[in-house]
Symmetry: C2
Subunit: 363 residues, 2 copies
């Protein structure tokens, strides 16, 4: 696998098939924070020490392949352009912080991007496993497998009382962050979302917009994760999160049914208008694209509109992001209005290609 | 010709082909107010007197046919349902006042609705001639021809000093009102319309929305007419109006070109979004339909969008009006939300039929 593949494919392969409860839960992610003994945390480390961490990890690429049977790629982030790093952020493979400081930072990634290890982000290692749908269990099993391979060959900082030691005390203990990406248009349109977010927060969960902290919930996509990493076992953490997610999932499904039952015309109209605008607009902001795609996806999930591939939403949500868009156009110097034009064109062409596939019976 | 034809056809035939300067001027209309001597004006007349006027006019139907070579239909307004009368208002064949008080009111109308004579509206006779595009001259010639036929057989109230006597002094003299219907999206979008309306008013012209006084300029359609009927010859009145209309027409064309030159993407986007919404919406208010149709028509006139019949705008502007809509559905008891649904459906079906005609090469 060349790294260009990772950058150019709109979807990491796991996004192509919906997982369990895929009508509401887009993806599940497990992240384990790990640090290597006797080396300072990245924010206190000197270049030579960071480099040492990088070297150790690059040396483990073969072991990971042997243990998992998957291909892995080791990428030094400063070998990528800024645009390429930002595409990886948009694809949720690395974090914005990781992309912003590329010197002596690296990425170990499996060929289908199910597994990625950020090297020298806030911690020396951040093992991430992503699965489609609601599936934190399988993601945890896989993360443990990767962790076992790494821990067998590295001296990982662990304290009997505190658990895994991490740069930030909020990650101390299990070092585990579990998160799910949920599509919640029903709760947004019925104005129940604030109540649900407040309830989740009271349960010790964090609710964020599509691209993590500080971003709005564009496209009605919310990321829900545990805040507490200490004092609970890993299993308890993912059980708690899964249970809360199931409740939100049920509320979302009820909200969708209620919307459809009480205002079938208004909802159907909203969905088809979104389709009409996506299909014909000549200029579109990223924010508007996400909103309309969310409405279209809701229509697909409620069988209001057919002949739309289920993965189209996941695909366009990625391809319409500004960096990815500039990457496929091959020009990273576009202004906002040019970006908006290309975004509309890409959406139009994607929908037209789908229409033609449908006409040929290739769905 | 049966009167059902007049009601059911979306377009009066003259609307099917655009006239001179048809990109901006939708239609030209001449109206002559006439009254019969020794009978009180309609608002002072008793039923028997109104009835006498009706009888006289019905008796002249054959003469009109003989003199013009066209078929004419005499319709007593109280023989129509309220819905049918309102459809005639929406088609600009009779006035709202005429429709509201149907007893002893009638309509004499030519088979293509180019000529209509309202009987016992504000005056005993209101002769109206409508032509597509900017063509007040031909409309006046035809109106004179009808007037000659009627005056040869009726004793029309005329005073050497005051001219034709009319119920309202604002119509005294020539009894002539000339008006044109203009589509002015360029002036509206570039915010020049207020200045233009003020200038026209200072020239002694009246500027109104699509359905006469007191209505907003829905669909960016404006009706421009003379206010003064006394002290100028008929020719001077229509020359003045035509000259003002030509100026507005030039401003409108410049505004359209400027819009296209300075914001081609924004304008193209607006036009295609209008098309997308018209093509897919499931519910649409009459006001929104007119706005979107106006944007689409602008796109057709600027060659931004093709494969749209030029007459589509004129047709849908009529068919999406609430009374016409109820007439073709065959249910005059629809609530607003049902009307909005049927309106969206009718627009969708019209555009789909056009797509299919285009696919067959029948444009």
């Amino acid at each position: 696998m060349a790294y260009e593949y990772l950058l150019d494919q709109p979807l990491t392969p796991w996004m192509n098939h919906p997982g369990k409860d895929g009508d509401v839960v887009l993806s599940s992610r497990i992240r384990l924070a790990r640090n290597i003994c006797e080396l300072p945390f990245p924010n206190k480390a000197e270049a030579a020490q960071l480099s040492k961490v990088e070297d150790k990890l690059e040396g483990l690429t073969e072991d990971l392949m042997a243990d998992t049977g998957d291909d892995y790629l080791f990428i030094a982030l400063d070998k990528l352009t800024s645009l390429e790093r930002n595409v990886l952020v948009e694809k949720h493979i690395i974090s914005p912080n990781h992309a912003a400081q590329p010197e002596n930072r690296a990425l170990l990634v499996s060929n289908d991007a199910t597994v990625s290890v950020m090297v020298n982000e806030e911690d020396h290692l951040r093992i991430q496993c992503m699965f489609p749908g609601l599936n934190l269990g399988d993601a945890l099993v896989l993360a443990h497998k990767i962790d076992d391979t790494l821990e067998a060959r590295l001296d990982i900082a662990f304290n009997e009382q505190l658990g895994y030691l991490t740069a930030c005390p909020t990650n101390l203990g299990t070092g585990l962050r579990a998160s799910v990406m949920m599509h919640l248009p029903g709760l947004v349109f019925t104005r129940q979302i604030t109540r649900i977010v407040n309830a989740a927060t009271q349960l010790g969960l964090a609710v964020r917009g599509f691209y993590g902290e500080g971003t709005e919930a564009a496209g009605n996509i919310f990321q829900i994760s545990n805040q507490i990493t200490l004092g609970f076992s890993e299993q308890e953490i993912i059980d708690n999160l899964t249970s809360a997610v199931r409740q939100i999932l049920n509320h979302e499904r009820s909200a969708r049914q209620a919307l459809y039952k009480h205002s079938p015309v208004a909802l159907t109209d909203k969905v088809w208008r979104a389709y009409g605008l996506l299909k014909y607009a000549r200029s579109m902001s990223g924010q508007e694209a996400l909103s309309l795609l969310s409405e279209l996806r809701l229509g697909v999930d409620l069988n209001i509109i057919d002949a739309i591939r289920p993965a189209l939403f996941n695909e366009l949500v990625v391809t319409t992001r500004p960096n990815y868009l500039q990457k496929i156009i091959g020009n990273d110097d576009l202004n906002q209005s040019e970006l908006n034009r290309f975004r509309a064109q890409l959406i139009r062409e994607t929908l037209e290609a789908m229409d033609q596939d449908n006409a040929k019976g290739v769905v």
